[in-house]
Amino acid sequence: MKRGLTPAHVTFLAFGFAFLYVPIALLILFSFNDSRLVTVWGGFSTRWYASLWSNAQLVASLRASLIVAVTSAAIATALGTIAAYALARFGRFSGRSVFSAILYAPLVLPEVITGLSLLLLFVAFGVERGLTTVIVAHASIGMCFVAVVVYPRLAGMDRSLEEAAMDLGATPLRTFLSVTLPLAAPAIASGFLLAMTISLDDLVIASFTSGPGSTTLPMRIYSQVRLGVTPEVNAISTLMILFVAVCLLLGVLITRRAAPDRTA
């Protein structure tokens, strides 16, 4: 690729970034609007933020979402890493293509299909629906994303390091724990973050698999949005965007510090 930007490139970039960021900027701007009308500016105010903290339902759903996100992402990271390891180390085992097809399908499959069929599974086995079922559902989707992120790292790893460790007398398990895992750690960490983000964001699968009393934050926001556009929703959204922006920034800084020798 020949480098260097022409005026045409700059125009495309300006248009693309405007399309991506103007809606988000407007959303943030109107969270500071004093007027209850979301589309008419009525002066600067932070009162919608203050009213958020007194909303007990909202705080409860935030708590539920965080529990689900952290737990499901932990399970997803463990399972997804092992799945990626199996794919990367066993060359062509029989059934490999079926294994990878099942692993890749949930990445694109419409959530209504996954959510509905998981719910039917829980009902068929008589499992009481609640936070646990949401965690299981999110872990199942999350492991696929983790596997996709971790696989290239494990497949591209220099095998001679593992062989050297074993030649020096390390058991296979010890080699896995003290050579393979640390080398794949950045990919595993970003897989964990991805699984957590997807869980925090999911409305459809959570709606199918949760029971009474286990309402997650997106479900709560969705029920408010259906009633109309309100400045409170803008305020929650702004806080969530801020949270994600800080996490992203930290993530970029950590990966830059952790892997200065990474070849692009």
Partner: protein, 304 residues
Amino acid sequence: MSRKPARIRTGLPAWILSLPLVWMLLFLVAPFAIAAKISLSRSALAQPPYEPSFDWSAGVADWMERATQFSFDAYAGLFADTIYLDAYLSSLRIAALSTLCALLIAYPFALSIAHAKGVLRPVLFVLAVAPFWTSFLIRVYAWIGILKDEGLLNHALIWLGLIEEPLQIFATDIAIVIGIVYSYLPFMILPIYVALEKQDAALLEAAADLGASPWRAFVQVTLPLSLPGVLAGCLLVFIPAVGEFVIPDLLGGSDTLMVGRTMWVEFFDNRDWPAASAAAILLLLVLLVPLRIYDRLQTAEERT
């Protein structure tokens, strides 16, 4: 170092290695089998609301007898009522249109990012895919305030004197297309950028040396080489868009027919589980071809 790997030495015991497989069979494969089974049941006023329901304690003979009660009523219902056929067709149409629009925006955008020099390139790339990390629901919600009849877009257009009367965009298929393009754009940018970024600059130089104009070099070199990325991007947008629920629900009108939303209503409002299951299985069958192509692309990617 040309040692022959006499046996595969892996660091993990077999039972740990098989955990993901067991989990996948239980939570990613079994649910579809159950959905297929329920789609062959009849809707019933029971808990759960379908029959026959299988009792795990019942013997095989009992199961066989109950299996004779299977019916294709739910599927027949899908075809008897044109609502479903219309929903499938309009979902495919809206998803295809959205994919095309996303491609037209993402390609020049990704190409421009790939042309940037030095440290600017990764920075632009991270900024282009960063919106993916913010909540999907919130990004769709942001468009309600913009597209509504008394929304920001109409305010701006009237203020500029471009229109007299507010445009009716909200609650139309156009609003859904805008929502899908906006939400899924990072999925289109990512594979196209990756395909463009890894292209060898020497190819374009060679084309120029042989007298090709920049446009001709683009059409004959850059574009064909980026086609796998384009295909991957299109599938990453098209497949989930067909079954999209949130976007048609929030941006579409009450008469909007998209199969994801129809399924949701059938399940939560009408409590017709067999019909919803049949609709899900049928949607899965419709998506089987694009899913198969996507899977082959992934496998090809793995080999490189």
